[in-house]
Amino acid sequence: MLVASIFFSAAALAQDQIPVNGTVLDEKAEPLQGVSITIKGTSLGTTTDSLGKFSIRAARGATLVLSYVKYGTKEIKVGGSQTVYAISLSPVSSSLNDVVVVGYGTQKKLSLTGAVSSVSGAQIVTTKNENVENMLTGKVPGLHIIQNTAEPGDFTNTLSIRGMGNPLIVVDGVQQPDFGVTGGNGDNNVGTSNILSRLDPNDIESISVLKDASAAVYGVKSANGVILITTKKGRSGTLSLAYTGTYGWQVPSGLPKPVDATQYMTLVNEQSMHNSNGGRITYTPQDFADYANGTKKSTDWYNAVFRKSAPQTQHNITATGGSDNTTYLLSLGYTDQDGLLQSGDLNYKRYNVRSNVTSHVSKRITVNLNLAAILDQKNAPAESFWWTTRETWRELPTQTIYANNNPQYPTNGLVDGGNPVVFMDKNLVGYSTQNNSFFNGAISIDYKLPFIDGLTLRGLYSYNTQLQDNKQFQKGFNLYTYDQASNTYSATGNNFPSYVQRQYYKYPKNTDQLSLNYAHTFGDHTIGALALMEGNQQSADNFAAYRQLSIPVDQLIAGNSNLQDASQDNGRTALYEYVTNSFVGRLTYDFRSKYFAEFSFRDDKSSRFAPDQGWGFFPSVSAGWRISEENFWQKNAALSFIDNLKLRASYGVLGDDGQLYYQFISGYNYPANGDNNRLPRGSVFNGSFYNSVQSTGIPNPQVSWATSHTYDGGLDFEAWKGLLGFSFDYFLRDRKGLLADAALQVPDVLGAPLPQENIRGDRTQGFDFEVNHRSHIGKFNYTIRATFAYTNTRWTNYPMAKQGNSWLDWRNEEAGRNTGVHFGQGAAGQYTSYNQIVNSPVYVGRGVVVGDYIYQDWNGDGVIDDNDVHPIVYAGDPNSGPFVNNNTVVANPLMPKISYGLNLGGSYKDFDVNLLFQGTAILNISYIEQLNIPLWGGGSALTQFLNNYHPADPTADPYNPKTQWVPGTFAYTGTTTDVNSAWSYTNASYLRLKAAEIGYSIPARIIARAGIKGVRVFANGYNLLTFTKVKYVDPEHPTGMYGYLYPLDKIFNIGLNVKF
């Protein structure tokens, strides 16, 4: 929608040719440079200068046509008395002419035949976060993002396109590896992550998401879809500087608090009264009185450990400029994030540097050099955050932080011998640092071949590497117990002897591409062709050194030569080298922008494939039909409000070798897999440890990648000149040959590890859509963008042995069943009275009290047992997620079936506002340990458990039918839910205000004198409001690590944009 305000200015001058002067401003009243202005029906024209000014002579009554990329065209009739025009252009929402980045190229959105969604850098930065992935949430239909943690330096997210699993990340045309950032830095390790999470959002021009067969050009890596990131390039002109900065406060979103002493003693008494053999009171009225009258003081472990808020700041400065021949972009970013620990010892810093230079060396040759480096450092106390959280919740409020309240003697906690106030302090327990350095460098040369118009030869070489350098200094420390009888403090040594561990991981990768690109139009026919060769080599290596310290200096040199160890992680994500060769071809055809067809293929060969495997061939076809371009449509006036209606369909075969390992060889792992918690890696003979060899078992010479057959049908619709846009896709992905071993069929007497086989299959289907609306109410301009996606996966093939009877077969069968279906007991309310227990239709044990959970007698046989187990919820595996487990990423991560977003943007005069609502649905979560059980394992309890059924008189016998009960959410202390029942699951659907931003741009006239082109101040919030049934923690809070992982956060930012 065009909004123009034309001001009447001066008197008319000449009659025929009149001078027309004007200024073209954008929707924020900033000058637009380079707007093309032509006189309709002539070839005369001009462009605006850097101040948006133009000047042209035109006949009275002529029409000026203004056009500017993304701002569409606008016609102005000149004449009358006006000669000076202030013209305002607004971006058009019609994105048909937008150029979208696709695999190995670009396409106009108009001609897309695949399901490709894209989002611009400007749309990304409306959310502010340290992780770019979190800035994409809700913005791309079908892109599911689950934030697993807000821990500084830990970027572990679950990222998936259409629920299909870990997608391939491509940055500026180069495939990026998933870094197995295992670290193993004690418990401070982080999960796998990719470079996307650490990019500077200000460097991103656009992100495209290839959701269907359009990803097939990435062959054996493409099955889960592809995320293409394009970084910004320089623009010619004088130096332009842009600064963006935010400062924010992070506040935990859902971090439960533990009870105080009185509450604790109440719960303990409930638990000890809760005994059908006769209960008793553990804490006497005197104990309670001591706290009530101030003789004793309850300990607040939570506030001693956690801050109310932690600061976070991000800054970026970008410089662009250049001549017609050479343009450059230089960018420097800085991120500093503090953690929630009171000690301040958990924090993260990151530096992003980028230099992107393009030079037209000659008329035919263009060279681009794009260099980027990311350096980051995570600092943490040697004791991990999750353990500190666990102890903060667990230590008793009846015990003081310091023994006898003497600050020289931190208490040796009665629970686990812990003390979280010590654990968070690096001066006491030592520290852990993790340094990552990423380098991405790519040089490309484009050569427009002579003789054939439209033919370009392109070469690209890219080197990417990540180095991870971890250090852990674990320092011995004492915790104390005070003995009143003898007035002595006795020390308990922890973590002695002190040690230093260093770890190095290296992940280099290099890529080269040579391609021929052809694009030409012959009359009504436009043809494009691509032929490309690509080679990739990717490896991982590492080593670690460990020394116990002779002297208390935090360096390896201080180590004791007797207790030292050098080791190497031989896991699949830590030690490997893979080489691939590939050929890519693509043909596109476009008839009058009405009919489109595309065919592409990729041929892959990889060192991961068995030697006689041959090449993997991955073809795709797609077609599009713009019905709105048909004559019958255009002649129909009733349909004229529709600007564009396109039908699309695609089919492709995609591959997945992500889990493929050297299963075609038999041999030995050396040293054997193992650890101190289970089977060790070897044996000790006569005082010496010998690493052992572990048979890799049966080889499978036929093992191959999994294939995905991906179908997509889509519809793009645009009407009322961009007022309404709509895009819908239905998709179906059939995967065949998913890797699994045949352990469900092969008897154990074989005695050998089984190889992966291509035996399983699944089908993922669903739909996603996007709706756009842009309009204005008076001077208030607004945009609405809604995204929605639904996805479901079920097993189509899941071989297993028969279980012996049809009930067990049904119970264990996976084939034909949706993934993520959990079996368990159903919930049927709580006992609200003694009578209800006595008259229960099912057998009730003698321990049952009022408030206890009732399980559903599903089969109606009067007994609650394993035969009542049935599918109860959809929930991901609580222990899965992107965490690396035995060096393989656990499949089946927690993934809601529905995700949606609603983005509202608006501007009024110098103010702008942006709201992003985002949500998910159809997912259940369940917790164990302290989030499930009060007083778990002899520790304290979280405050939510005070809301429970309990006798009104705390000394009343809970088994006495006359006892009066106070109802609550949870059962009486001592009754816990069956973790495999509906009682332990909560619906984790949520709707939240993910981001809100309000900005004010200082009018240009005020700041122009200072030589500043623009200043905008803004306030931004992240995760501001959440609506969910999950009461005590954030609905996205991961259940892994027993629920102790770092909480998600809300962030309140203030920020500044300045352009020079």
Partner: protein, 651 residues
């Protein structure tokens, strides 16, 4: 100039072109090694042997019925299932839980395959080594395989016998792998055959390693043969469960007539060790009880002990356990927050000689008038006990790591004139009354002011606490295996390294005596067997400082079993003995074990005195062992994946 730039750029393009599509794809995996690397050098063979011995299924420091083999976390320890002890996390009898971490069924077949593969493959590489070396390696493979079948048969009865490497072609039918269970007898015979092969192939000693005992030699194999055949013989004699498959193959149980043959093999094997191993007596003195105690303690730590037949060694940081962390008395707790998981029962302690006993064999805690006996020092009650008791159990007030181990239930503040009557009626399972008793819910205590003005904690530093069971809940703490020299800062999980002595000569003597007594009861052999059995037992008794065995009595087998249970207590052997004797379900039939609670009578004597209350477990945990468990349940998938395999009775 520009022209040159062009040329250089075109060269660059050409270089990329040459590189692309021509990368060599023959990249071998970085961390997989091949047969020739392993079998081609003696270092490779050691690595293979390190695998076999790590897989060797023995119930060591890292075993509990709750979590199976090879698991670090031992908080429901084996003795808490046998009645030897009580533990915080174990509340009753249990069937072994065979699958959670190291699946015993599949793990054993992995070990068996690794042995079979070695036996089949080493001949190809034999030319590289001298013949004796190859022979001993083969002997070791037979030893590990025999031990692995032993681990299976003592749990399940007859199992599939796999004596050659099986193969599986991915994607092909698995019929040939659906091997049925052999009879129980055939399985015991397989154990016998493998250990006999081991004895034949293994050398008398490892010249390189001396008699260290972490790898098998001829006598190691013989000692285990004596154990295995004793298990076979007693199982044949006492078992009453039978199961036949469709082919009339008896997969559970054996004909009683088989017993004598196995017992004779056990006896023969045990005798092989005579003269090569002996009981540890290095600090022992016939007259010094303290030396006898110290000697019994040291026997578990002296690497040069002639009693060590087979051990599993540990070394930090690659192979470790956490025995001390889980079991030190509460007052010596390490920083992980564990302690006192094994708390010997009074029933266990009462088996030892030299304690004051009532007519029914229970410990005397009351005087003739029915009042508590009073002691200035709690150790006084145990002053006459055989020294082995102190080497096995930490008694209240005993010394360990230079500290007096302070075990006390509470302070009795009531009147003492005329004697203190029992706090509860005899046999009562009720809670102690609150009146006249000061106790503590946790280790964080408020001191009590005694009449003499001194402050005293209500509970001992090592318990007993009313709200925290990480303490001596039975009134005792375990002593055996605890390292007296381990600094408290080192009392950590996954940090301990003392060796596990899986087979010591004392057991060989006990096997020998038991085999002899059982043979006699079957009418085999002559009186010399009785004499020999008594001599073996007396070797152990005199070392223990116990009274010698002079009169065989009517049931000599009971004397031998009791001796075995005392000598091998807390060594994870009693669990299997109770099973093979088929008395588990008789001993644990609604049973609540007994404990001994020390109290301090504040007003007694000038400075207070101790008394002891013997009672049932305050938690009232009831132990009932299901006779089905004598044959464990096969894992469900062992049957579902192999329909020829049948389940044991009752599951």
């Amino acid at each position: 100039m520009k022209k040159y730039t062009l040329i250089i750029l075109l060269f660059a393009l050409a270089a990329i072109a040459t590189n692309t599509g021509c990368r060599k794809l023959d990249v071998p995996p970085k961390s997989i090694i091949q047969d020739q690397d392993v079998f081609g050098s003696s270092q490779g063979i050691v690595a293979y042997m390190a695998r076999l011995y790590s897989e060797l299924p023995i119930e060591d420091f890292r075993y509990s019925p709750q979590r199976g083999l090879n698991m670090f976390w031992i908080i429901s320890p084996t003795p808490a299932t046998t009645g030897e002890a009580l533990s915080r996390d174990q509340t009753g009898s249990m069937q072994e839980n065979t699958g959670p971490d190291w699946n015993i069924w599949s793990g054993c077949y992995t070990a068996i395959r690794d042995c079979d593969y070695f036996i089949q493959t080493i001949p190809t590489y034999a030319a590289n080594y001298n013949a004796d070396t190859v022979k001993r390696w083969i002997g070791e493979a037979y030893f590990v395989r025999g031990m692995t079948y032993f681990a299976l048969v003592k749990r399940y009865g007859g199992v599939p016998l796999i004596n050659k490497v099986l193969n599986y072609q991915p994607g092909s039918p698995v019929d040939s792998l659906q091997v049925p269970r052999s009879s129980e007898k055939a399985t015991w015979d397989q154990v016998d055959a493998d250990l006999t092969s081991a004895i034949a192939n293994l050398p008398e000693a490892w010249t390189s390693d001396g008699k260290n005992g972490s790898r098998a030699n001829k006598y190691v194999a013989a000692a285990f043969e004596s154990r295995a055949m004793l298990y076979a013989g007693t199982t044949a004699k006492y078992n009453t469960t039978t199961l036949f498959d469709a082919n009339h193959n008896q997969v559970c149980g054996m004909a009683a007539g088989e017993a004598a043959g196995y017992l004779q093999k056990s006896l023969n094997a045990a005798k092989m060790l005579e003269g090569h191993y002996s009981l540890y007596l290095s600090g022992w003195s016939a007259t010094d009880k303290n030396a006898q105690y110290q000697n019994f303690v040291n026997l578990f730590f002296d690497a040069g002990s002639p009693e060590n037949v087979f051990i599993r060694e540990y070394q930090y940081p690659n192979s470790v356990h956490g025995y001390d962390a889980y079991n030190v008395p509460r007052q010596l707790i390490g920083s992980n927050g564990y302690s006192a998981e094994v708390n010997p029962t009074l029933d266990f302690v009462e088996q030892f000689d030299g304690l004051p006993k009532n007519a029914d064999g229970t410990l005397t805690t009351l005087d003739a008038s029915g009042h508590y006996l009073l002691f200035d020092n709690p150790m006084d009650l145990f002053s006459g006990a055989e020294p082995r008791l102190r080497g096995t159990v930490i008694l209240p007030g005993d010394e360990f790591k230079g500290q007096s181990i302070d075990i006390r239930r509470g302070i009795y503040t009531g009147p003492v004139a005329g004697g203190i009557s029992p706090l509860l009626p005899a046999g009562s399972r009720a809670q102690y009354p609150a009146t006249n008793l000061v106790t503590s819910s946790t280790a964080s205590q408020t001191a009590y002011k005694l009449p003499n003005g001194n402050l005293m904690n209500p509970a001992g530093l090592s318990g007993i606490f009313t709200g925290d069971q990480t303490c001596a809940i039975s009134g005792f703490s375990v002593r055996k295996w605890l390292n007296p020299n381990l600094a408290t800062a080192q009392v950590l999980e996954n940090n301990e390294t003392q060796s596990w002595i899986e087979m010591r000569y004392a057991e060989v003597l006990l096997n020998r005596a038991e085999a002899e007594a059982e043979l006699l009861s079957l009418g085999q052999g002559g009186a010399d067997l009785q004499t020999d059995a008594m001599a073996s037992i007396n070797q152990i008794r005199s070392r223990a400082g116990a009274t010698t065995w002079t009169n065989p009595g009517t049931t000599p087998i009971d004397t031998i079993r009791k001796e075995r249970r005392k000598e091998l207590a807390f060594e994870n052997k009693t669990y299997w003995d109770l099973r093979r004797w088929r008395i588990f379900s008789k001993e644990q039939n609604g049973r609540i074990y007994r404990i001994l609670m020390p109290f301090f009578a504040a007003n007694s004597g000038a400075n207070g005195q101790y008394f002891f209350d013997a009672r049932t477990d305050e938690r009232n945990d009831v132990y009932t062992y299901d006779p089905r468990w004598y044959y464990e349940q096969l894992p469900g998938n062992a049957i579902s994946k192999s329909p020829n395999v049948i389940q044991n009775p009752g599951y």
